[in-house]
C-alpha cells in the first residue's frame, strides 16, 4: 500500500492524480491512501463518485473532532466536456444538492471520530460559444453561471433582430446564423422582436450570428411629404421622393436637395447611405401664375387679413359640426356641447396636460369650431 502524507484538505480528483507534487514536508498531518484500504479503520474517510466520474480515494484524518473535505465544483471530462458537481451523500443517506458553481472548491466538514463514506454526484456539461453583435440572452441560464450547460438540456438563444447602437441613427440588423461552423442561413429582416433558436446540449455548440450596420435616413421638407425615409444598409443607395403640392396661384417649386452624396433629378434624390443623415428638400415659391392674373395686390391684402383672422380662428379641419337649426332645443344642445368641451379642456389644464398659454388659445379655437 502506497501511503502519502498531506498537509491540508485539498483532496480532489486532480490532486489524486498529482499527489507527489502536492506533498509538503512542513506540516504533515493527514494521510491519503491512494488505494482504497480495508474497511475497519476507526476514522477512515471513503470518497467515491457515482458513475465513476472521478477515481475513488480514502483518507485517514488525524484531526480529533472534524475534517474539512474539499471537492472541486468542476473537473475535466475530456477535450470538449467537463463534470460539474451536483450533490453528495454521507453514509448512504439522501443526496444533498450543492450550489452549482463553475470554479472553486466545495468544502464539507466531516466528523472525524468515526469512519464515513462520502459519495459525490456529478453531471457532464458542454460549452456554448455565441457571437452576436445585436446581443443575446440564453434561457434557461447556465446552472453554473457561465456558458456551460448540463448534458441533455435544451437551451434557447434569443437575439434581437435589431440593436440601435446610436438611438434613432445607427443600428445592427440581424441577417444570418451559422451553427457549429455550418453554412450561414439567412434570417428574414424584421424591425423588432427577437429571433430564437433552440439547441440540444449533447455536444459543444458554436453559434455565429451575422448582422449588418444600418443608418437612418431622415428627410425634411417645407412642402409636401417625403417618401423613402427609413433604415438602410451602410453603403447602399436610397431613393427619396417628395411630392409637390398642387397650388393654383403661388406654387412651391423644388429647387434641389441638400445633403452629402446626393444625386437628384426632379423630385427624386439618390443618396449614398454612408452615415446617419438628414436630407432637406429645398423649395422656392413661384408667383408667375399670380402675376399673370394680376392679383398679387388683392392676395397680399387677403393674406394680411387672413393672418389676423387666423389668430382667432383655428385651421383645424374638424370633420364634424352640429347642424344649427332654428329650433331652441338644438341651440341648447349645441351650447351644451361647447360648455362640456370647455370643461374638459379646463380639466386638462388643471391636471397639467396643457399649459395656461395653450389653454387660452385652445378655448378660443373651440368656441369658433
Amino acid at each position: 500500500m502506497l501511503i502519502i502524507s498531506l498537509t491540508s484538505v485539498d483532496i480532489n480528483y486532480s490532486l489524486v492524480m498529482a499527489v507527489p507534487a502536492l506533498t509538503t514536508p512542513d506540516t504533515l498531518s493527514n494521510t491519503l491512501l491512494i488505494n482504497m484500504p480495508d474497511k475497519g479503520s476507526k476514522n477512515m474517510l471513503y470518497v467515491s463518485f457515482v458513475n465513476n466520474t472521478a477515481a475513488p480515494y480514502a483518507i485517514l484524518p488525524n484531526a480529533q473532532s472534524s475534517y474539512a473535505l474539499n471537492q472541486s465544483y468542476s473537473w475535466v471530462r475530456d477535450e470538449t466536456s467537463r463534470y460539474s458537481l451536483v450533490s453528495y451523500s454521507i453514509d448512504n443517506g439522501n443526496f444533498i444538492p450543492v450550489s452549482r458553481l463553475a470554479r472553486g472548491n466545495f468544502t464539507l466538514d466531516i466528523p472525524a471520530e468515526n469512519a464515513h463514506s462520502i459519495v459525490f454526484l456529478a453531471t457532464a456539461q458542454y460549452p456554448i460559444d455565441i457571437n452576436s453583435s445585436t446581443g443575446f440572452t440564453i434561457s434557461p441560464p447556465s446552472p453554473t453561471g457561465d456558458n456551460w450547460f448540463d448534458s441533455g438540456s435544451n437551451v434557447t438563444i434569443a437575439t434581437p433582430y435589431t440593436l440601435q447602437t446610436d438611438q434613432g441613427k445607427i443600428r445592427q440588423q440581424l441577417i444570418g446564423i451559422s451553427i457549429d461552423q455550418s453554412d450561414s442561413k439567412l434570417i428574414p429582416r424584421v424591425d423588432s422582436g427577437t429571433f430564437n433558436v433552440e439547441v440540444l446540449m449533447s455536444s459543444p455548440h458554436n453559434l455565429n450570428f451575422t448582422s449588418v450596420t444600418q443608418y437612418y435616413l431622415n428627410g425634411v421638407s417645407q412642402y409636401g411629404t417625403i417618401t423613402g425615409i427609413g433604415w438602410y444598409d451602410a453603403g447602399s443607395m436610397a431613393i427619396l421622393t417628395v411630392n409637390a403640392p398642387d397650388e393654383l396661384l403661388v406654387r412651391p417649386l423644388l429647387t434641389g436637395w441638400e445633403g452629402t452624396n446626393i444625386k437628384s433629378s426632379g423630385n427624386t434624390a439618390s443618396i449614398l447611405v454612408d452615415s446617419y443623415k438628414t436630407v432637406v428638400a429645398k423649395w422656392t415659391t413661384d408667383y408667375s401664375q399670380a402675376m399673370l392674373l394680376g392679383i398679387i395686390p388683392p392676395i397680399v391684402a387677403a393674406s394680411i387679413f387672413l393672418i389676423r383672422y387666423k389668430r382667432n380662428k383655428p385651421t383645424i379641419d374638424l370633420p364634424v359640426k352640429l347642424q344649427t337649426t332654428d329650433d331652441n332645443y338644438s341651440k341648447e344642445i349645441i351650447d351644451y356641447v361647447l360648455q362640456k368641451s370647455i370643461e374638459n379642456l379646463d380639466s386638462m389644464r388643471t391636471s397639467g396636460i396643457i399649459s395656461d398659454n395653450r389653454y387660452s388659445q385652445l378655448k378660443e379655437k373651440l368656441k369658433l369650431n
Partner: protein, 202 residues
Amino acid sequence: MLSQEDLMSRITKVKNLREECFKYLETAAQQTLTHQIIYAIARLSSEKMGPVKLAEIAQAVSGMSDKSKQDVIRLTMEKTLLKCGMVEKLHYAANDVRYILTAYRFQKVKKIESFRGDNVEPIGEVFEIPMSTWPVTDEYFILKSKKSGYEEALKKLNSDYDNGRIPRGRYEDLIRELTGNLNEIIRKIDSKFKDIGELMGK
C-alpha cells in the same frame, strides 16, 4: 418642418439613458444650464410644433440671444445633450440649424457587460418631461374636448327625452346627429392619435 408622425414617435418612444446622461433630468440638476436647455427646447418645440433655433433657446434660457450666449448654449449642448443623444441637431440649410429633443420619456439604465454581450438593466421608473411641453397638435386637444362634449350632450339628450322635454321625432334626429358626430371624432382620434391618446389618458 418635421412631420406629425415624427413628433409623435418622439413622444411615444422611451429612450434609455446611462446614469451620466440621466442626471441632467433629475431634480438635483434643476439649476444647471443643461437642465434648463432641455426644458426650453421642449417648451419651444411644443409652441412651434417643430425644431427650434439656437437663438430661440438662448433667449428662453438667458433672456438674451447674442452670439456669446448662443455659443455657451451650443457648446453645452454639444458636450452633453448631443453626446447623450437626448437632443438632435437638424441642418435645414447652411445657416439654419435647429434642435429638437429625441424623446420625451427616458429610462435610466445600467449597462452590464458580460460574456453574453452587453445588456442594459433599467433603474427606477420612466421619467417623463411634463406633458404640457409635449409637441402634441391642437387638433388632438380639440378632438378630445369635443368628444367629451358630445358624450355629455348625449347623456343630457337622453335625460331630457325621458323627462318629456322633447318629442320622439326630434329626439331621434338629434341622437342620430350627435352619435354620428361623436363616432367621427372617435374614428379620427383612433386613426391619428391612438398611441398618444393612450399615453395622455393614463
